[in-house]
């Protein structure tokens, strides 16, 4: 198993390098550079050129890439021209919010998916299964941002049960119990609306895994042993069906990234996603570049996590 993980990690290194090159080149391809937004347009072009020379902006791209990559490795992604602060500090502030939102979403996703998937798979072709499958189709069809907007309007504005923006009530002292409660209160609705949509994939997946496992020959063996139906389910069907779901965990992270971008914007939740969208519209490219790199790295790590879990839970893969 360690071999598999080690091999996967060695593959990951070139993946991340490639990703960073791509991100860097894309950023280069954007109109303007670090000086375009920073300086007064009335400045002498010769002075600008001098500045560029000094900052290395006239160097060939691979030299620039190298400088950029070395800095990025040290956590230096340059300055955000909008917030006039280092990008790394800016993202650092937002990241905590996004991480909490993501964690709660993940937890809710599985809290919804596991019971629904089990009911749907175990009693498939009953009314309960049809209702759950209907819900999953709805979830597949409904765009996340429209669904989130509806929830926001109904529970946020119309009923007023939840706050409609921010990550914490203004004026609460950091570290106090009220602060923590307010934080939870603020992420509940965004996390729930995202979980309700993203969970449908897992529900469907778990359902078909269970239906599939139910028909396997070793289930007949279990019945022939004299195992009761509930034991057959708990010992053989569920266990064998849940393991692939566990392995899917890492890929959920990739899904979450896409989700938080929309959800944070809709709920005006100060996280990385909201920062990402607003930075794009304001052409704050140093922030965008850093975020794309971060998201990309997270996806690659997610895939690694999935493969590692899979090799851990499935003995057939472990051996190879």
């Amino acid at each position: 198993m360690w071999k598999t993980t080690a091999r996967r990690m060695t593959i990951m290194v070139p993946q991340i390098v490639l990703l960073s090159i791509l991100v860097f080149l894309l950023a280069k391809a954007m109109p303007g550079d670090a000086l375009t937004g920073l300086l007064d347009p009335s400045i002498d072009p010769a002075a600008l050129d001098e500045q560029r020379e000094r900052l290395g902006l006239n160097n060939p791209w691979y030299v620039q890439y190298w400088d950029w990559a070395v800095k990025a490795l040290h956590g230096d992604f340059g300055q955000s021209f909008r917030f006039k602060m280092p990008v790394s500090d800016l993202i650092g502030q937002r990241m905590t919010n996004t991480v909490w939102l993501s964690l709660l979403t993940l937890a809710l996703t599985y809290l919804i998916a596991i019971p629904l998937g089990i009911i749907s798979g175990r009693y498939h072709d009953t009314w309960a299964d049809r209702a759950i499958t209907g819900y999953t189709y709805l979830g597949f069809a409904a765009p996340l941002f429209i669904f989130a907007l509806i929830l926001l309007w109904v529970f946020g504005f119309h009923l007023g049960w939840f706050p409609t923006e921010g990550s914490v009530a203004p004026g609460t002292a950091s570290g106090s119990l009220a602060y923590v409660m307010s934080k939870i209160y603020h992420i509940l609705l965004p996390a729930l609306s995202m979980a309700l949509i993203t969970t449908v994939t897992t529900v469907q997946y778990l359902r078909s895994e269970i239906i599939d496992t139910k028909q396997k020959d070793f289930i007949i063996t279990a019945r022939a042993k004299g195992a009761s139906e509930s034991r057959v389910y708990n010992r053989h069907i569920l266990r064998n069906s849940l393991l692939p779901i566990a392995a899917f965990f890492g890929y959920e992270i990739t899904g979450l990234i896409g989700g938080t971008v929309f959800i944070e914007s809709i709920f005006s939740y100060p996280g990385m996603g909201q920062l990402f969208l607003s930075s794009i519209s304001l052409r704050d490219f140093s922030v965008v570049t850093a975020l794309v790199l971060l998201y990309g790295a997270a996806s690659i790590l997610g895939a690694l996590l999935s493969d590692t879990i899979l090799s851990f839970v499935d003995p057939r893969i472990r051996i190879k």
Binding site: K216, D217, F218, I220, T221, A222, R223, A224, K225, G226, A227, S228, E229, R231, R235, H236, R239, N240, L243, V313, D314, P315, R316, I319
Partner: protein, 338 residues
């Protein structure tokens, strides 16, 4: 030797296709005795596996009619909780494909352990482990302690089948059902597994129901044979009688169609037509009628029943009297199909 173990009476197992039920096992009556190997022979679609599954109560969506008497009660219609006390305990089953019959994510030791735990919940983990190791030894697995912790995919086909057998015999069943136990295995391994089943039967005195399509296996193993065709038993006899004095046209045709040592390169016998599918079975009259069209209709019974033509030798329908194969030449010239 002749003591009755299981008595099946008018067992009909039907499956739902569309809006109707179709009988895959149709009015089968049969007894299995202690310390005997009863082979049930037939081709695919004959209902032999459906019969085995019915005895074990393993059909989840079938309609079962008739009775299966075991130990003084009718087990065909037992509630699951009572049936589960018998399955894996007094009734053991060996499956065809040992790879798919084992849970891929559980070490083989725990899979054997489970069946002991289910029927002897009071035994300690240590006692059970001891029993599992003994069982592994009994079914001929080298290094049982080591094998205990292996996963099914780490074992060869023959070893896996030994694990499946260990599960089946763990609680010393009185009836052992083996459903095509060697079809997935190589010849030399097949021999070993058959020897093992025979030895286990001799040691325990259990009754064995051996489901197979392979007449060679039957000849090697069986004490008595029941031949099934299209859901019905067409002939029952002891092995010597069946192989030397088979009567039913189907049994005779089957025996004619296997390659034999003496007649290399000669034409094998071919049964005309094909086995009808479940929905298209002729439910009236002799079911083999359509495949021996040269036999006069009048030779068949209207409602064929089993006739005891000698003690213990039963044949369905009357078409076996005066049955002859058609002229070989005439048959070989045109292959009967479609």
């Amino acid at each position: 030797m002749n003591e009755e173990l299981v008595r099946i009476e008018h067992l009909t197992t039907s499956f739902r296709i569309g809006d109707d039920y179709y009988a895959a096992v149709d009015d089968v009556s049969l007894t299995v005795r202690k310390n005997e190997i009863l082979a049930i022979v037939g081709e695919s679609g004959s209902g032999k596996s459906a019969l085995a599954f019915s005895i074990m109560g393993l059909h989840t969506r079938a309609r079962i009619e008739g009775s299966i008497f075991y130990g003084g009660q009718d087990i065909a219609h037992l509630p699951p909780s009572k049936l589960n006390r018998l399955r894996g305990n007094e009734l053991g089953m060996i499956f065809q494909d040992p790879l798919s019959a084992l849970n891929p994510l559980m070490v083989v030791g725990s899979q054997i352990d489970e069946v002991i735990l289910l029927h002897h919940p009071k035994r300690s983990a240590k006692e059970r482990k001891r029993s599992v190791i003994d069982l592994l030894e009994k079914v001929g697995i080298p290094r049982p302690e080591h094998t205990y912790g292996l996963f099914p995919h780490e074992l060869s086909g023959g070893m896996r089948q030994r694990i499946v057998i260990a599960i089946a015999i763990a609680n010393e069943p009185k009836l052992l059902i083996a459903d095509e136990p060697t079809t997935a295995l190589d010849v030399t391994i097949q021999l070993q597994i058959l020897e093992l089943i025979k030895r286990l039967k001799e040691d325990s005195g259990a009754g064995v129901v051996l489901i197979t399509h392979d007449l060679g296996v039957v000849a090697e193993m069986a004490d008595r044979v029941a031949v099934m065709y299209a859901g019905q038993i067409v002939e029952i006899a002891d092995i010597y009688t069946l192989l030397s004095d088979a009567r039913h046209p189907y049994t005779r045709s089957l025996l004619q169609s296997i390659p034999s040592a003496g007649a290399a390169k000669s034409k094998l016998h071919v049964i005309q037509g094909i086995v009808p599918s479940l929905q298209h079975l002729p439910r009236q009259g002799c079911r083999f009628r359509g495949r021996i069209p040269w036999i006069d209709e009048a030779a068949h019974e209207e409602q064929p029943t089993m006739h005891e033509i000698a003690p213990g030798h039963f044949v369905r329908c009357t078409c076996h009297k005066n049955f002859r194969f058609p002229n070989r030449k005439e048959e070989g010239a045109r292959l009967a199909i479609t």
